[in-house]
């Protein structure tokens, strides 16, 4: 529980003077994401910048220092019957809220509860000039100034060092259960989307190895009544199953060496014709593929499905790992980067080789 923002700010100012580059590191649980970190850059360690700054359960808002482990946040929320509805993955006990937002990582509930990007209300950020700035706030509705807070989601720390994050939090569900049944991959997209279109308390839908899993959460009576109407067996260990999906500990993700590709596509789009193992989550919007391949060959498949692809884990991480950008957007993003970090101090080359 310490505020080391001044030290962080000094290190940024020093780097600016000396021309040093900095890799931002929190709990160090997500080093596999993005391109390989620049070996010549120094380390800016925010893991000591921890603690809950402000939390009023009745406001449904919590403000925390960016280096705070997710587990500490979730424990404090659970004491008040609240939770992070975006179900952030824990890749280890050290996974922090800052890294979660920088990587824009959300769990199985994301299509219904929103992502970490959706729940962020405000941030404090040290930019590349060493200025400690505040954007957004601690209220749900705030349209004063550009939404710099949400701009951080997925930017992999290339715009600055987040020091504080304000998040919308929600009450935890009263009841929850999971229905499972056999289904072939070519039927499941239609099935999951049809279920999602019903006015029922569905909060997760995934498919793996010939089985579809649907989670219902909310008022007990509503969950039970829906489970009775819908087909499928009630899973005994539903909670543990979703936890393994959220933390990517499920057998599909764990202990394999084949490259892991993430397709973020239209929920009903025909699945790309790639031979290999698939795990379909988010009712079809997020599809994981295990197998060798080139990013350049994957991109047309993702585009045909209305979305994008990234090499999430494994494979060659010295080349590009993120879906390429059209020229006009590449130019804008390079200029946005310069506007925050004119000397290119933060996480050089981590997101794209050209950033």
């Amino acid at each position: 529980m310490a505020d080391i923002s001044q030290k962080l700010q000094e290190q940024v100012l020093q780097a600016r003077t000396s021309g040093e580059k900095l890799n931002i590191v929190g709990g160090g649980s997500k080093t596999f994401i993005g391109r390989e970190a620049n070996a010549d850059a120094g380390t800016l360690d925010i893991s000591g910048h921890t603690g809950i700054v402000d939390y009023h359960p009745v406001e449904l808002v919590m403000t925390v220092r960016a280096g705070t482990p997710l587990i500490d946040i979730e424990t404090a929320l659970a004491e008040q019957g609240q939770a992070l509805h975006f179900e952030p993955p824990h890749f280890g006990p050290g996974s922090t809220i800052g890294g979660t937002l920088a990587c824009n990582l959300s769990g199985p509930a994301r299509p219904w509860a929103g992502s970490v990007r959706d729940q962020v209300l405000g941030i404090r950020l040290i930019n590349g000039k060493g200025e400690h700035l505040r954007f957004g706030g601690e209220v749900m509705k705030n349209v004063a100034g550009y939404d710099v807070s949400r701009l951080q989601a997925g930017a992999l720390g290339t715009l600055g060092v987040m020091t504080e994050i304000s998040l919308k939090v929600m009450p935890g569900p009263a009841a929850s259960l999971t229905l499972v049944q056999d289904m072939a991959i070519d039927e499941v997209l239609h099935y999951m989307n049809s279920r999602a279109a019903e006015p029922k308390p569905i909060t997760a839908a995934c498919w793996f190895d010939g089985k579809v899993y649907l989670r219902l959460s909310g008022a007990k009576t509503a969950v039970e009544a829906t489970a009775e109407k819908w087909s499928g067996d009630i899973m005994a260990n539903g909670e543990a199953f979703w936890r393994s999906v959220q933390d990517m500990q499920h057998e599909f993700f764990a202990g394999q060496s084949a490259p892991l590709w993430r397709f973020s596509v239209g929920s009903t789009a025909t699945n790309p014709g790639l031979d290999g193992e698939w795990f379909i989550d988010w009712a079809g919007s997020q599809r994981w593929f295990r197998g060798a391949g080139e990013l350049g060959d994957m991109e047309p498949l993702a585009r045909a499905a209305g979305g994008q692809v990234s090499l999430f884990r494994g494979g060659d991480r010295t080349g590009e790992v993120m879906h390429s950008q059209p020229n006009a957007l590449k130019t804008i993003q390079q200029r946005v980067k310069s506007s925050f970090d004119p000397d290119g101090i933060f996480n050089p080359g981590r997101l794209y080789s050209w950033m």
């Binding site: 349209v143 100034g145 701009l151 989307n193 310069s338 506007s339």
Partner: protein
């Protein structure tokens, strides 16, 4: 900031007429007049000319010409904005998207709609209703306002706490950049690679690009919705009841508060059967499955009674629910009937300060000698104080503006912000200096330049020039010192 355009009005019009139907390149004052302001009619300006393109290619060509010659461009949807964001620039072009009014596609299985920017907000839900779907954000102006404008303002409405703002309900935007490129930000997926430009674009008030197409998410219409109305004899008790509901673990579809002035005005207007003697009224809508709503309505009624409600009434039919909402939805025109003019504010505060803020606002009301009625999106802390005034009384609008500025400062002081959903526009540009430091404002300017290097898109709006801020802050400081001195002498 832009310098003077390097092309004359006549030359510019001639260039546009080579590729746009000449009838839709408007140069005469009489036809331009309706474009001089948006819903914030106190701020007016006549533009050089108005142009109404019909295709994305035409928008591109307009932007390229304006970029080449340094001509400011103000994009315009339905002109319902409440902060002067679409007020023209006198050296510039108004780019109306009125002709882009088609719903291109609704996909009931994927629950999405592809829209041209000029499609009206309500028209989306009307069209989607046949599939049991609707579009979430529902600003009060939803009959008239357009989806392009909603993206520019990040519009909200009464259901934000549960269903989010525009930024939470769109998948992608096709836009034309200041330099005339067409780009799509976002995709059919729920997120993409690289920076989240869609987030920063949403709510950027026309300063970063011109929207030419929007893909929105549609929500499934809930099985049932019912509303509990509770009257209270003090604002404090009603404020506590809002916290009580949320602490109980219920997230209402809508949670609205009105104060005494607004209750009476709305009831006179709509005949909704509100408790006219109440000092504060809550409308709490619960939606979901039959079972869930049944469970939560009983709990909400119990919470309100326990926290001192003087009356509790729950809608027993769809008709009754509509009637109870009618009063709230017509609160603005209702207040309009009891005063020659009204000025609608839009601050947001942490909910726990509601009673204090409303009490202090009452004091300010007496100091400024102007009445104020309050309607409040209580669920998400968004206040809409309506200051009642008469524009025909010399000096009264200036006094109203000063009262408004004092209210916004109060919102920032308790940890809130100067605008929840109406945008900064020209109206609140001075108050930006209250909420942000010079370094933060400079970062906004630099970010804007990344999209629009020559600053032709809606110049002078949303983010103030720094010089202007220093003047405003020092003026504020002087006023405060003056007030303190007076207080010390009083």
């Amino acid at each position: 900031m832009t310098t003077k355009p390097r092309i004359s009005k006549a030359e510019l019009a001639d260039q546009f007429r080579t590729f746009i139907d000449p009838e839709y390149v408007i140069t005469d004052d009489e036809t331009i007049k309706p474009y001089e302001c948006d819903g914030m009619s106190m701020y007016c300006e006549m533009p050089l000319l108005v142009v109404l393109p019909e295709t994305v290619t035409q928008v591109q060509r307009v932007m390229r010409i304006c970029h080449e010659h340094g001509v400011p461009v103000v994009a315009r949807g339905a002109g319902t904005g409440l902060s002067g964001g679409a007020m023209p620039n006198k050296e510039g072009v108004v780019l109306s998207l009125a002709k882009f009014n088609r719903i291109l596609n609704i996909d009931p299985l994927a629950r999405t709609a592809r829209l041209q920017p000029g499609v009206r907000n309500l028209a989306i839900s009307e069209e989607a209703a046949q599939y049991g779907l609707y579009y979430g954000p529902d600003p009060s102006s939803q009959i008239a306002c357009t989806i392009g404008g909603n993206v520019a303002e990040n519009s909200g409405g009464v259901h934000c706490l549960k269903y989010g703002l525009t930024v939470h309900n769109i998948l992608s935007v096709e836009m034309v950049t200041a330099e005339g490129d067409v780009v799509t930000i976002g995709s059919d997926g729920l997120d993409g690679c690289g920076m989240d430009l869609l987030a920063v674009f949403t709510g950027s008030e026309g300063l970063l690009g011109v929207v030419t197409e929007v893909k929105v998410k549609l929500l499934t219409k809930p099985e049932v919705a019912r509303v509990v109305m509770a009257g209270f004899d003090s604002v404090q008790k009603a404020g506590d009841a809002v916290g009580g509901i949320i602490s109980h673990g219920i997230i209402p579809g809508g949670l609205e508060m009105m104060d005494g002035h607004a209750i009476v005005a709305a009831d006179d207007f709509a005949g909704a059967g509100y408790p006219r003697e109440a000092k504060a009224l809550l409308l709490c809508e619960v939606d979901g499955t039959e079972e869930e709503v049944h469970e939560h309505i009983a709990e909400a009624e119990a919470v309100f009674r326990k926290l001192g409600a003087t009356s509790v009434r729950t809608s027993q039919s769809e008709q009754e629910r509509t009637l109870l909402w009618l009063g709230r939805k017509s609160a603005f025109p209702a207040v309009g009937r009891i005063s020659p003019d009204y000025y609608c504010m839009d601050g947001t505060i942490p909910r726990r300060h509601i009673a204090q803020v409303l009490t202090d606002m009452q004091k300010l009301s007496e100091e400024f000698g102007l009445r104020v009625a309050n309607v409040f999106h209580a669920g998400d802390g968004n206040l809409h104080p309506l200051i009642l005034f008469d524009a025909n009384v010399p000096g009264e609008f200036e006094r109203t503006e000063a009262f408004g500025a004092a209210i916004l400062k109060m919102c920032v002081d308790v940890g809130g912000c100067i605008t929840g959903e109406h945008g900064v526009g020209v109206e609140k540009i001075r108050q930006m200096a209250v909420q942000f430091s010079d370094q933060e404002l400079q970062q906004f300017h630099d970010l804007k330049a990344a999209f629009d290097p020559t600053g032709i898109l809606n110049p002078g709006k949303a983010v103030p020039a720094l010089k202007f801020c220093q003047e405003y802050r020092s003026l504020e400081h002087k006023q405060h010192k003056h007030e303190h001195t007076e207080a010390a002498h009083g």
